[in-house]
């Protein structure tokens, strides 16, 4: 029994060492903790995020199972688009993730979009009215660093990844990038881990290359559902955006793909299992009256003033 305990101790020490090298939390080997909050209602926080809440559930059961709970939040995540013309879907998927992160964040910190000038001129700049409409990200929240050279963009991204002031950092690169090798991505990953902030690496139009990112998602567009208007679907309408997310690489190495549909009202993804299924959110067929500071008052009893004689 004594030898068994010693062996267990040694195995645990080795596992902890492996976890340290791999930059993982050692408790992934332990039985999972049921709840992050303790019994007396105390919630531990580290760097503004609740301790233990290090994953962002995507909303698709199979994806979440393959990703062991969801996308890691304090890590580098690679999001891959096969072609430049898919840049809308790739950017939309990433910004949707950012919006979901911001929804739970205690402080609405800005997010930084670092891009090489080539990526922005080929696929377009993030457009503030669209971001506000689709993801609820205000214009002041999204900072854009338009850097011509990849070396400088990497420097900016590295500096930003180490800051806790950003809610998320996005680095967009187009085509093959020799400078963005295993070492460079490992540095980004380490900094994101230390700052406990998500870092999204967007790759447009290039083959997947070896990186240090624990998760790689391959995102391509999917046909949108139809809008639901007055409890029926409007034929031929283009509903909320849908994405086909495929796991290219993960810890568990389980292949999985799912069609995710972004719900703007709930600020969350929904998995669409049946392609004929319609969309959940109502869309903007009728004008939305969101964020109005002074809504119109209710009609009073007196509707018209009596004429003064």
């Amino acid at each position: 029994m004594a030898t068994n305990a010693v062996a267990h101790e040694a195995v645990c020490a080795l596992r902890r060492e492996i976890a340290r090298i791999e930059g993982r939390l050692p408790d992934q080997f332990e039985p999972p903790v049921a709840s992050t909050s303790t019994d007396d209602g105390l919630l531990l926080r580290h760097g503004g995020l609740p301790v233990g809440q290090h994953v962002l559930p995507t909303g698709a059961a199979r994806l979440d199972a393959a990703l062991q709970g969801g996308l890691p939040l304090a890590a580098l995540t690679e999001i891959h688009g096969r072609q430049t013309r898919d840049a809308g879907a790739v950017a939309g998927f990433t910004l949707a993730l950012c919006a979901a992160v911001l929804k739970t964040a205690p402080v609405k910190a800005p997010l930084l979009w670092v891009a090489t000038g080539e990526a922005l001129s080929e696929a377009g700049r993030p457009y503030a009215p669209g971001l506000l409409h689709r993801f609820g990200l205000t214009a002041e929240t999204v900072l854009i660093a338009d850097i011509r050279r990849l070396e400088d963009a990497l420097w900016v991204a590295e500096e930003a990844a180490a800051l806790t002031g950003f809610s998320a950092v996005i680095l967009e690169v187009r085509g093959r990038a020799k400078k963005l090798d295993l070492t460079a991505t490992r540095r980004l990953h380490r900094r994101a881990q230390a700052a406990a902030r998500p870092f999204f690496l967007l790759r447009q139009a290039g083959l997947p290359e070896p990186t240090a990112a624990p998760v790689r998602l391959i995102v391509s567009p999917a046909p949108a559902g139809e809008r639901r208007v007055l409890s029926r679907f409007l034929t031929g309408s283009i509903g909320p955006p849908a994405f086909l997310a495929e796991i290219g690489r993960s810890r568990s190495a389980i292949p999985a793909k799912a069609v995710l549909e972004w719900n703007r009202d709930e600020c969350a993804f929904h998995e669409r299992t049946d392609p004929a299924d319609g969309a959940q959110d109502t869309g903007a067929v009728a004008a939305v009256s969101g964020q109005r500071p002074h809504p119109a008052g209710a009609a009073g009893a007196q509707l018209a003033l009596r004429k003064i004689a």
Partner: protein
């Protein structure tokens, strides 16, 4: 032995002598002579065309160098510089020592320079050209000017000629003459110049560069070459600046570092801060990015004088440190981050955007510098669907045929790829903003959201109308949807 040199320039449609060297002067040449005459008289003379721009550049770099004596340096015509040394002379060991030092250093650089020092710009101008390099004491202007020719008064050539024609050749001749007849005959300019030289009328000299409210400088006995040494000096000088800024209750918004190289070249590096700062470590951080971006510093033989100036200052509100470490919602670290990026990669490197009230998609967003301040008010969400990425310029697409003349296209070719439109929403008509100028008859745009077979969603528009007199409408792709 060099041949005699003559600089020529074009004056009233003829090539004339602009400047001559000593040898040419010995030959009897003088300014204003025709070049053809010079060639005929002395074929061995070398004639060079004047380059006013190059002369100006040389004078500008010399003015840069003169910044070491005073921040108030101004141009005096095309061949001179005014240095306002009010309150600076004691730093260089008195006026005479300063004048000697200036003359010696200019001679060491290979310039043939004449220097003069007086209480008024006009007198100093005359002293530099006609007197020995000795300061003219305040009050002695009249005495010093009397024996000088009238050219010492910075007069127009026409006035000078007419004065000469009546026998007035020196300043003395007009100094005690009755003033009204002089003014009547030769114009008010003559008396103004005289009064300016004597100090009866103030003359303002406008400095070439804005004057920094605060600056610290170091004269170095041993020139520094290495970047590390320069950074160490920046840190020390920023510490001195910090004390002054604390006393004034201000922080620096913009800083400039001037490096005076031994051979007279002056380098200036500027950094801006989005929030007032005074910490030497932060100042050094910004300058380190600037120096890194510069790469090779081109120190040459080294820098002998380094100056750190606060170009713009703003009120500094000291804030109480938070007991709880961690997130600071005011975004001070983000402001510093943005400053560092701007110092290294230029002011346009990091931008936030703000919504503008405009119907045209490309005008609905303005790019603004990021200050790190939290957003003041969030405007209303746009009611209409807008793309999440907008192309820098609308890209033309080929549309063979639309289903109905006013409807969306059935397929289109963008960047040489054919897309089949499965679904479309629209049109949303956006007319040009005629009240902001522009052409009246510019066609309207009809925007459609279209989705192709694979689910890509695009924003395309038809520029113009079918059957309109302006011709067949063209189609453009303007943005990508999520």
């Amino acid at each position: 032995m060099c041949p005699p040199l003559v600089i020529s320039h074009r004056d009233s449609n003829a090539q004339r002598v602009a400047a001559i060297c000593e040898q040419s002067a010995a030959l009897g040449l003088r300014r204003g002579l025709g070049i053809a005459d010079v060639r005929a008289m002395y074929p061995q003379v070398e004639i060079v065309e004047a380059e006013p721009d190059a002369d100006r550049r040389l004078l500008t770099s010399l003015a840069d160098w003169c910044d070491r004596y005073t921040p108030l340096v101004a141009f005096a015509g095309g061949d001179g510089l005014f240095l306002d040394i009010t309150g600076c002379a004691h730093l260089f060991g008195g006026e005479q020592t300063m004048l000697d030092d200036l003359g010696r250093r200019l001679a060491e650089q290979g310039f043939c320079a004449r220097v003069g020092l007086a209480s008024t710009p006009g007198m100093a101008w005359a002293a530099a050209r006609f007197l020995k390099p000795v300061p003219v004491a305040p009050g002695d202007e009249a005495e010093a000017l009397s024996p000088l020719p009238l050219a010492a008064l910075r007069l127009e050539p026409a006035v000078r000629t007419s004065l000469k024609s009546v026998g007035l050749r020196t300043v003395e001749a007009i100094l005690h003459a009755p003033r009204p007849p002089l003014a009547r005959r030769f114009g008010a300019g003559l008396l103004l110049r005289l009064d300016q030289a004597l100090g009866a009328v103030d003359e303002a000299v406008s400095p070439r560069l804005p004057v920094a409210p605060l600056s610290v400088e170091r004269h170095l006995a041993e020139p520094v070459v290495q970047t590390e040494e320069v950074e160490r000096l920046i840190f020390i000088m920023a510490g001195t600046l910090q004390e002054d800024l604390v006393r004034r209750g201000e922080g620096a918004r913009s800083l400039q570092l001037s490096l005076f190289r031994v051979d007279g070249v002056v380098k200036r590096l500027a950094v801006g801060a989005s929030r007032p700062l005074r910490e030497p470590a932060l100042v050094l951080k910004l300058f380190r990015e600037r120096l890194t971006a510069l790469g090779e510093m081109e120190a040459g033989c080294g820098f002998e004088l380094i100056r750190l100036s606060v170009m713009a200052a703003a009120r500094f509100d000291p804030e109480q440190a938070d007991l709880v470490a961690g997130d600071r919602p005011d975004g001070a670290d983000l402001a510093l981050f943005a400053d560092r990026i701007r110092a290294r990669l230029g002011n346009e490197a990091i931008l936030a955007s703000t919504l503008v009230e405009s119907h045209l998609p490309e005008r609905a967003v303005a790019r603004v510098p990021f200050t790190g301040q939290p957003a003041s008010a969030s405007p209303d969400a746009p009611v209409r669907e807008r793309p999440i990425r907008l192309l820098p310029h609308p890209e033309p697409v080929d549309v063979a045929m639309a289903e109905v003349p006013e409807g969306p296209p059935r397929n289109f070719r963008w960047r040489r790829v054919l897309y089949r439109v499965i679904r479309a929403e629209g049109p949303e008509r956006i007319a040009p903003e005629w009240w902001l100028g522009g052409e009246d008859d510019e066609p309207t745009r009809d925007y459609f959201r279209v989705e192709d077979e694979d689910g890509r969603r695009f924003w395309i528009y038809r520029h113009g109308l079918y059957g309109a007199p302006t011709g067949t409408p063209r189609w453009f792709l303007h943005g990508l949807f999520a």
